[in-house]
């Protein structure tokens, strides 16, 4: 049995009376590249946000490598949805990536040369080095997404949570991003991605979780990515025509 990177127990989240996530148990082994799929409103983003403590669950607990999340923050990096911030904020691409180093710096301490070097390296990895001094509002959607990815890379974490990193990016950016994710997996990191495009699941990921308020199934793509689970999750008779 592989080591568990993330373990979620009995997680329940509700806005007012309506449960958004119901009694989720989830075990994510170390070193997988996992997609979370499900229809709109299934609670995919909510699941990530609750694991990361951004939202407060009604019940349940989250452990990272066997210890409570609060004690393991440094092992976890988060890539929020691109639309969650105001891109007209007066700052540059390099500055945003530098923010990834703030967590390890802690309160008050300023980022120095070491942090800047790490940020530049991350920009290089996502192919954004030529844009380092660009004002962030003047970046395209795909470039903004890469900047967010670079910010998470700087954290040098073991587990990466990403909320729809492929949303609104062009094909070449999508390939660039998935290559980085695959490189992360190769380096032994665990990557968890909220994903919308079912077509690409078998190609990109090796692990998948079906979610629709309740957890439908979780496991290796080759074992559980089938019509049965898709129908259970999406509620319609879904045929996986892409699985040749």
């Amino acid at each position: 049995m592989k080591t568990l990177a993330v373990k979620v127990d009995d997680l329940t989240v509700a806005y007012n009376y309506k449960p958004v996530l119901w009694d989720i148990d989830l075990e994510i082994p170390e070193g997988v590249l996992m997609a979370i799929v499900g229809p709109n409103g299934a609670g995919k983003s909510t699941l990530i946000k609750s694991i990361l403590g951004i939202l407060k669950p009604i019940a349940g607990s989250v452990s990272i490598y066997g210890k409570p999340y609060e004690k393991q923050r440094k092992l976890v990096a988060y890539v929020p949805q691109k639309g969650s911030v105001d891109w007209d904020f007066p700052t540059t691409a390099l500055d945003v990536v530098m923010m990834g180093t703030y967590g390890s710096l802690g309160w008050i301490k300023r980022p120095g040369q070491k942090e800047k070097k790490a940020a530049l390296e991350a920009l290089e990895k996502v192919g954004m080095l030529p844009f380092k001094n660009r004002q962030i509002s003047q970046l395209s959607g795909g470039q903004q997404q890469r900047i967010f990815l670079a910010r998470a890379l700087v954290q040098n974490a073991s587990i990466y949570f990403m909320d729809e990193p492929f949303q609104g990016v062009d094909a070449s950016t999508e390939i660039a991003i998935i290559n980085i994710l695959k490189a992360l997996r190769k380096a032994g990191k665990t990557v968890i991605v909220v994903h919308h495009d079912l077509q690409t699941v078998p190609e990109y990921f090796d692990w998948v979780t079906f979610l629709n308020v309740k957890k439908i199934a979780t496991g290796p793509v080759k074992d559980i990515f089938n019509d049965d689970n898709l129908t259970k999750t999406y509620g319609i008779n879904y045929k996986v025509s892409i699985q040749e």
């Binding site: 976890v76 929020p80 923010m99 967590g103 008050i108 980022p111 509002s137």
Partner: protein, 344 residues
């Protein structure tokens, strides 16, 4: 200075609400002490301003009301209550009460030396705190959720920022008054945003704009009789904003329009040149002359564009005939390749 943070948080109205919420505090402080000591009154303003702010926060998080609704609600309720108290105080047989209404529109002339010192000290403290927690302020403003995942206590940072905004407002009350204070907070920041894309420069510029409005406004009102200082300061700040919106090189309306017109002209030229290139391509010799009439088939062709191409040395004219020059051919083929590259 602190206004920059309010503007970037999209909580511009917060300043307005806070300053209005400070009014009942001033009145109550007067009622309790019966004296018009500035420091006590401002302390009252501070307390009720803070209460107002945290109520707004409470309303937003606990109910379904949007933040602008909450702001409006708190603003009018507190202001109404403050006005009520003020009229009540005016009916009191206390000789001291005259002049309390100066807090409505402010009266810089009533400032005494100790007030100025007080302002300088508090401004200094604000500055130090801002520099100390610069990194935390910045990241919270940009991406609050992410800040939380890094392990920062976002509530603490939030309360810190808000408290200092409240403090800054309360201090300004005496000069510009409850009604106009929010303009003083926001105008310099809004103007500064037009000129720079860097947060530190924006804060710095806002401070300069604010200080200049203050000094210049005071000078103007002092040179004229019966001009109250507060409104003049706000008008000066307003002029800054107007000027910045129109003239700033990157975001200003004027330069945007100029750039727009220039781009369109360039494109027209490029298109005409590309059209000519296509014709010239059909011949081995690029300087093979063609009649100008051919160009009439091309939509967007004008004599003006042709003349401009001649001026730039891309085209040479010979009576009713034209031909591309060496340079024109090269430029056109570069354009053509670029276009193809970007189509891919």
């Amino acid at each position: 200075m602190l206004g920059s943070f309010a503007v970037l948080r999209k909580q511009s109205l917060l300043g307005d609400a806070i300053s209005h919420a400070a009014l009942p505090g001033i009145a109550i402080a007067f009622l309790i002490t019966g004296a018009k000591d500035t420091n006590t009154l401002l302390l009252g303003a501070l307390v009720s301003g803070l209460i107002g702010t945290f109520w707004i926060r409470g309303i937003v998080t606990k109910t379904h009301l949007k933040s602008d609704t909450a702001l409006g609600l708190i603003l009018s309720v507190f202001f109404g209550f403050g006005m009520l108290l003020l009229t009540f105080i005016q009916k009191q047989p206390n000789a001291n009460q005259a002049g309390l209404d100066k807090y409505l529109f402010g009266q810089a002339a009533t400032l005494v030396e100790s007030d100025v010192w007080m302002m300088a000290i508090v401004t200094g403290i604000c500055l130090i705190v801002m520099l100390t927690f610069w990194k935390e302020f910045k990241i919270l403003l940009f991406d609050a959720d992410y800040t939380k995942t890094l392990g920062f206590n976002t509530k603490t940072i939030d309360i810190l920022i808000t408290s200092f905004i409240v403090l800054a407002i309360v201090l300004g009350l005496q000069t510009v008054g409850v009604v106009l204070m929010s303009a003083m907070l926001l105008a310099p920041a809004a103007a500064a945003r037009q000129w720079t894309n860097s947060l530190s420069k924006m804060v710095f510029l806002a401070a300069i704009f604010g200080a200049f409005s203050g000094v210049f406004g005071t000078a103007v009102s002092a040179s004229q009789n019966n001009l109250s200082t507060g409104p003049v300061i706000v008008i000066v700040a307003g002029v800054f904003v107007l000027f910045s919106f129109v003239f700033s090189p990157k975001r200003g309306l004027l330069f945007k329009q100029i750039r727009f017109v220039k781009n369109r002209r360039d494109l027209e030229l490029h298109k005409t040149l590309a059209f000519m290139y296509h014709i010239a391509e059909t011949h081995d010799n690029i300087s093979h002359p063609h009649t100008i009439k051919i160009l009439n088939n091309f939509q967007g062709y004008t004599k003006g564009t042709l003349q401009k191409l001649v001026d730039r040395g891309f085209v040479e004219l010979d009576g009713n005939m034209w031909h591309l020059t060496e340079e024109g051919f090269k430029t056109a083929s570069n354009l053509y390749n670029q276009q193809n590259a970007s189509d891919e």
